[in-house]
Symmetry: C2
Subunit: 300 residues, 2 copies
């Protein structure tokens, strides 16, 4: 079933203790859609400036990603982020943010995008996320991501969003911040009580947790020695999850659980190189192979 | 098969953000043996002072714990620890340590203890741990715990210990410290290359990881909202693990994996109250029920 993602498209500069890259392809909607493209076709809505290299768009459209919704604004610059990972590769510092054209992002969806069944609102202002929801009629499943900035600075709009989405994906520190509870199990359910039918807490190297009214579960990260660049791990997780759901065309509890596992696994590939460099080299069968290993790991 | 544990026996004073307890039953060998007693009989070697309440010993011997090896030193005081948990309930500060009689702990094993097949060297000086190994002839499986203090201050003795034990259990920050590697997958294998055939890294609320030459796996913690006091979580984990191995009488890869799961589950009960208060209220069938839930949680 059609999957639509709206979010940031960026040029990232990343420093890790081992290496660094400048102005590489990034952004929440990019990582998400590439990850989802192993499972289903994806429609991407975002905005870039005229400095945006055409080969980046080609990289996306060469997969099952429809970039008709990627608006190019003449005379403007693309969103740029520069960050530095600490030696634990889990914590990072943002060194520079230039929102540029993303600062005025006011997405107007192409007509045919508006009937998407599966909608992911990647990280962005909850006001923009709400505006997107208004345009998508009859979405069967709407899931949003959020971040500390909006929890702190636009709490009211975020609360309105939580009352309208079906699912929310956020990371562990954000869940604690939003609920003022340090216990992630309680925090997950408290977020759920704010509106979403289900909540997923991403724990980075420790995996992900799922919360619905009747279920609480945890999935560990796939153990990997080769964490080269964690940028986009959360977005590729969400892309794997939503991509599988859209492929299956439902979000029954058993489908959701397997979707979470696919999210964990796609993210485990994504962190093995900068930008999309690792994901570019794999196919669905590589994910399936890792799924077999993962399921074997978790059976005893 | 007989399981022997040598370690600390203590009176703990614990502060958490919600509550506190003074002078309650604690110590690595106590948490370990109580946890193991769901699975097998346990022989405990430790030392206390004359301030040690007799009812604490009775609590142990009322289960399958042989306390003949618990030496009471007249005129001396029991090891006391006072600690305070931070709001995340994972990090803690040690406020006071009085080693008292544990400072001169030089265990001499009762004759019949020396033929134990399964040996656990709970947290203590690696020199003492080595002396215990010298006394146990023909142990089929020897597993040790260690801590940052010994990694920092008695590295040589610890290295000798690692060259002799079959398995090592340590927590995530200790594994990073010992290997100077922030990636836990690499760190686990680096510790293994220091000698032990297998290594278990405890990650607190995030579960545990296992490393052998041919296997790397992760098990998440059992998700619980009721973390009342994490003291003894690592020791009860080890007790559940070793108890199951001793019950099964082998340490084949499949047995080890299930043993790790039992360790995770027993620890998940232990943290639900202070001291042994939660573990006192459960039976093997409660653990089996949680095992069923845990296995269901990890299948998809």
């Amino acid at each position: 079933m059609p999957l639509l993602v709206v979010g940031s498209v960026a040029l990232d500069s990343v420093q890790t203790p081992q290496a660094s890259r400048d102005d590489v392809l990034g952004g929440s909607a990019v990582f998400f859609s590439y990850a989802a493209s192993y499972f289903t076709s994806v429609k991407l809505v975002g905005v870039v400036g005229e400095d945006w290299p055409a080969e980046h768009t080609k990289l996306l459209t060469d997969r099952r990603i429809d970039a008709e919704g990627l608006q190019v604004v003449p005379g403007a610059k693309t969103f740029r982020w520069r960050g530095k990972y600490l030696p634990n590769m889990n914590d990072r510092e943002t060194l520079e943010v230039h929102l540029n054209v993303f600062g005025d992002f006011d997405p107007v969806l192409p007509e045919e995008y508006r009937r998407s069944s599966f909608l992911f609102l990647a990280n962005g202002s909850p006001r923009v996320q709400l505006k997107v929801m208004d345009q998508v009629v009859g979405a069967r499943l709407t899931v949003a991501d959020t971040m500390d900035l909006w929890i702190r600075e636009d709490h009211d709009a975020l609360m309105e969003l939580l009352g309208r989405v079906d699912g929310l994906v956020l990371n562990d520190s954000e869940a604690k911040l939003l609920t003022n509870d340090e216990n992630l199990v309680r925090a997950g359910h408290k977020v759920r009580e704010m509106g979403p039918k289900f909540v997923v807490i991403k724990k980075g190297e420790h995996g992900a947790m799922f919360f619905s009214e009747h279920e609480t579960y945890v999935m560990p990260a796939f153990p990997t020695e080769d964490v080269v660049d964690p940028t986009g791990a959360g977005d590729s997780f969400a892309g794997g999850m939503m991509g599988y759901l859209a492929e299956q065309g439902n979000f029954e509890p058993t489908t959701l659980k397997k979707a979470l596992a696919y999210g964990v696994l796609v993210a485990s590939f994504n962190v093995e190189d900068f930008s999309l460099d690792r994901m570019k080299k794999i196919e669905r069968e590589d994910i399936e192979l890792r799924m077999t290993q993962y399921q074997r790991m978790l059976s005893f």
